[in-house]
Symmetry: C2
Subunit: 645 residues, 2 copies
């Protein structure tokens, strides 16, 4: 067994060391310029300053529609003493941009001219010399620098360059970046992978990033995990490109050849950086070409590309280092981190009142959907052991703030109809969307106290009254929130197709051959389970797997579908989605709790409109096990029962 | 003479009315989808939700390099009680991503495994069931929505879609936008315009903007100012495009046919909006195609495109309205505005200490270079008469904040060597640049008191002592700033080539046939002039044009070059740049005043390094009239002369 022991270099140091070595090699000099038509150079970077070939305007031009005059002829004009000028003698009609005839030195706007008969005009105010005239060179003077070097060209820049009489300019060649996907387990996009195979998608993601950064990307075909094949592909890529990315084979597995091949052809500067995710990154070069081995997990791949490849692309383009836009946000739940590792955590963001709330997404390096959902990223310092819920943290933004302000943050319990609200929201109100953070029913209500979401889904049974939700809202939010009904739904045991273990009811869970998987504490499903177990006198300790927790209905269902458990309590729709059988246990009410102070905000208004629509009810019903026929009705308003009483 | 009287509709109302009419026509429905390979769809917008075709992972996979085991076999393992497992019986080696053999249910990381002889391994800690296993569906579950509809695709999105087993997706067709440049005065880019002609560059600028916004742009050849030609081009464009832009012919000139042609073919909703610049914009439609007549001045064209076309492009793409990122900034000088008009002012921005300073750029609608230089834009409300220097205002950003933080803000007096500092800064320190705001020497010193720039250029003669700058710095900044020398330079009278009026010295300015143009009050050149006039006993009232003011050496020189004046006082380099003759008057010292608290900041350090370089001195000398041989030396440190005394 080949075993590679990775380094664990501190991140900033590793990055600086790599950049310094490349600079010493001259590998980070901005690329040479090439002549390109200005029309095609949007987003390109100038390789030299662009100097105007002519002044703009290049003649004295009228700045208005009106008449050109000699200012001296108008000095006596007053409302009480109009001056009459003869057209084509004392004055001449001009439009904006027309040359000022040389005998004139001012323009009077057409609105201030009275046209009278016989080609005469009357004016009632004096014109000052050069008024409404664009003098030669007002915009730019021949020989002046229009655009400096190392400047990324915008649309107005293109216009200015053409105005300056220039058609072609020197822009830096775009960096050529090669992406080499490696791995015997990979199959090309569109093919159906067998067990043990996965579809190769990292190269498309990485290629997309590099393209956005201004590089020209070449993607190699998938290379099998053979030392010679990887080495030869690397050699070929280096000969044709400015930067080479090998993905992956960078870890400590038995078939990770990237570092060894790089060491044979060139130099490995670093193998292993104290970042999470992304630790097994390889930083090196062959001759003067940087070669980076990015890890195979998609989140690691995207992050290490951003941290180590982006600065190189920018340097070769002649651009300075980039810093993403950073904003302050409140952390929605505590995050622990590993001392000694720089950890990068993706978050969803929502603007709730004055607060920007950051809800951490799944931290698994393999979970590409966490990149898809992310609005931003925070960094847990290597000297920190984590950050607490409610702490102010800095978040680097991935989306613009306007979009974030149009995101409805629903916390609390997970329900599949929340995804329907999201879909309808996006279809009806362009730019708006729903972000749901699954913290359980109780967690959601507690979070609303500090206004950490716009609303929270809840299905909490009060064992004393048999009533749902109201007791809990009163207890945690007093008169500060109200309850709107969303849907009734069936809860039951999700079991394998055909119910091979013959599970009949909750009592079956106590059987020795049955492995259960539970939901997290504070979730409505957990409260329901505990209530019913107590009612039926079943001791939780008899249930195998009672302490294993999942956070959503779908993930609990997935655990059953993939054999990690024989049963889980969840909603019928989750069972249906994964093709599981369903043993009904109860029908429960799922409501949405909304802080009173947010009731009249546009986001809540949009949500209410959606959940009261026929479309919502129809789509909820189609999920199976849902009864949303009263969705949107007010369940409880604080103060109401006092009146009833 | 055809005269069109423009409307003057309030901006928000005009925009809402236009959008409402288009919505009623169904002209703003998101465009239909078409099937496209996911690989090519970066930046496209989804026309429908993308649903996963398979779960990811689609088998239980090892999440680590290590060994797969049965958790039950390891429960007894302790440091004091190692458990020995036989490979290929009780355990099997796995790499990250390998399928978990069905008899196993946990993975132990390779780092925690001791390989001993005879195919045996030793472990010293218990594994919990399913540890380091990526269970089926951990990332996404078959049938789950991966990407919602109306979503702009990012690089990670592409990866996620491929991971979900999908190769082609439905993305919205890109809006087709036609740009029709009109005007008999226009010549194509690259041609040399005769007097009265201008190079057509707006279509390139507008096309660049529309491309950035995600449209497919077709640019028509230049159409002459003939009613039928414009009408026919418009009809053709409408039949082939989703949005049609006519530039310009939208004003009240004699050859402005756009509105009339639009009225014949379709409907004019609005002609004239109370915005500055951009008032003569035309909003209308033909059948269901929006047609916008954008004014001819480039700044007006860019602004009206942003205000009225951008929302349409976004709607057709299925994106919500966009808001640019807005930040708070301090206004560097007062701005007056026209009551009843919404005025859009471009600004340069600089971060000075904690403050973001916004320095307004030229407001002329014809000045495209103001768009090139702009870092952002502020809006003067139609109900406001302006904003005062030092007021906090909101600025919409055009560049990212990191770039703005790397901008050295030099205020005070204009000097051409400041452009050299900028060039060297951009070449040596990628991403760094210089912004100079020309407020005159005195204005610069006063502004430093409130730290409204990083430093200020000054050449103020003290008539009492004959000394430059020190007296003024002491008076305005006491011990809070120091002076660094930049250059000596020749001041003199800039006159037409060959000096046709025989100007010999300042006394010549009092001649009746000589028209002078002055610099603004508070500028060092003005102070010098007034000092020398007094010295020579010349009454300013004798000088024609004494009250006409220009703000920079180059603009004063341009006034002489284009015949608006016979003479101006300025530096030799400005005269040389415009091919003028030069009559020397004096040699003056130009220094840079730097607040002490900023002395150790990276921006000032970079500037000092540059002005002390041989390259700077050489390039300054090449301008003509400069002596920068001591550039960078400290002229005055507060407290120093107290010690001398």
């Amino acid at each position: 067994m080949r075993r590679v022991y990775l380094e664990n270099k501190e991140y900033q140091g590793a990055r600086s060391e790599f950049v310094a070595q490349l600079e010493q090699l001259g590998a980070l000099e901005p690329l040479a310029g090439k002549l390109m038509p200005i029309r095609d150079s949007l987003g390109m970077v100038t390789a030299e300053a662009v100097v105007s070939k002519s002044s703009v305007p290049h003649y004295h031009a009228s700045a208005m529609d009106g008449i050109a005059v000699r200012a001296e002829d108008t000095y006596q004009a007053r409302e009480t003493n109009p001056v009459v000028l003869t057209l084509d003698e004392d004055a001449v009609e001009v439009d904006t941009g027309d040359p000022l005839p040389s005998q004139f030195n001012a323009v009077i706007m057409v609105e201030e001219v009275q046209f009278i008969d016989n080609g005469k005009v009357e004016i009632i105010a004096a014109a000052s010399p050069w008024q409404h005239v664009r003098a030669i060179g007002e915009d730019m003077i021949k020989g002046e620098v229009i655009i400096p070097s190392n400047h990324t060209l915008t649309a107005p820049d293109l216009g200015a360059v053409i105005a300056g009489g220039i058609k072609d300019i020197e822009v830096r060649r775009q960096p050529k970046v090669a992406v080499i996907p490696t791995g015997s387990e990979l199959v090309p996009p569109g093919e159906t992978p067998a067990r043990g195979e996965i579809v190769e998608f990292n190269s498309t993601m990485l290629g997309g990033l590099f393209t956005q950064w201004g590089a020209l990307v070449t993607t190699f075909p998938i290379i099998k995990d053979k030392y010679e094949l990887i080495r030869d592909a690397m050699a070929k890529a280096v000969s044709e490109n400015d930067i080479v990315i090998v993905n992956a084979g960078s870890s400590a597995g038995r078939e990770d050849f990237t570092a060894a091949a790089l060491a044979e052809l060139g130099n490995v500067v670093t193998h292993g950086v104290a970042i999470k995710p992304g630790k097994p990154v390889i930083l090196g070069y062959i001759d003067k070409t940087p070669v980076i081995g990015v890890p195979g997990y998609p989140v690691s791949a995207a992050l290490t590309a951003k941290l180590f490849v982006y600065p190189l692309v920018r340097a070769l383009r002649g651009q300075g280092t980039a810093e993403g836009e950073r904003v302050k946000a409140l952390l929605s739940r505590s995050l622990h981190s590993t001392l000694g590792m720089e950890e990068f955590v993706r978050v969803r963001l929502g603007q709730v009142g004055e607060k920007l709330i950051a809800a951490p997404l799944g931290r698994g390096a393999g979970v590409i959907t966490s990149l898809v959902k992310a609005d931003g990223m925070l960094v847990l310092d290597r000297l920190s052991e984590g950050r607490l819920a409610g702490e102010t943290i800095m978040v680097e933004l991935f989306r613009d703030q306007a979009e974030i302000r149009r995101t409805l943050m629903i916390s609390g319990s997970h329900d599949m109809t929340l995804d329907i609200i999201d879909s309808i929201m996006r279809e009806r109100y362009l730019g708006y969307s729903v972000a749901s953070a699954h913290v359980g029913s109780l967690g959601g209500l507690v979070g609303l106290r500090d206004v950490e979401a716009h609303c929270a889904g809840t299905h909490l049974l009060d064992p004393a009254s048999g009533e749902y939700n109201i007791t809990y809202v009163k207890q945690h939010l007093q008169d500060k929130a109200l309850l709107v009904h969303l849907t009734y739904r069936e809860q039951g045991l999700m079991v394998a197709p055909g119910n091979p273990k013959g599970i009949k009811n909750l009592r079956s869970l106590a059987q020795e051959d049955i492995v259960f998987i539970n939901r997290q504490k504070g979730s409505g499903t957990r409260v329901l389970l505990d209530f019913r177990l107590k009612e039926e006198g079943i001791d939780p300790r008899q249930i195998q797997g009672y302490r294993r927790e999942e956070y959503t209905h779908l993930s609990a269902a997935a655990a059953v579908a993939n054999g990690a458990a024989d049963a889980a309590l969840g909603i019928r729709a989750a069972a249906k989605a994964l093709g599981l059988d369903f043993v009904p246990v109860d029908r429960e009410r799922y409501d949405i709790c909304i802080p009173r102070q947010l009731m009249d905000t546009p986001l809540i208004a949009k949500m209410l409109e959606i959940i009261r629509s026929e479309e919502f009810r129809r789509r909820a019903k189609a999920l199976g096990g849902y009864d949303a026929s009263n969705s949107g009705s007010i369940i409880w308003l604080p103060g109401e029962e006092d009146q009833d009483a």
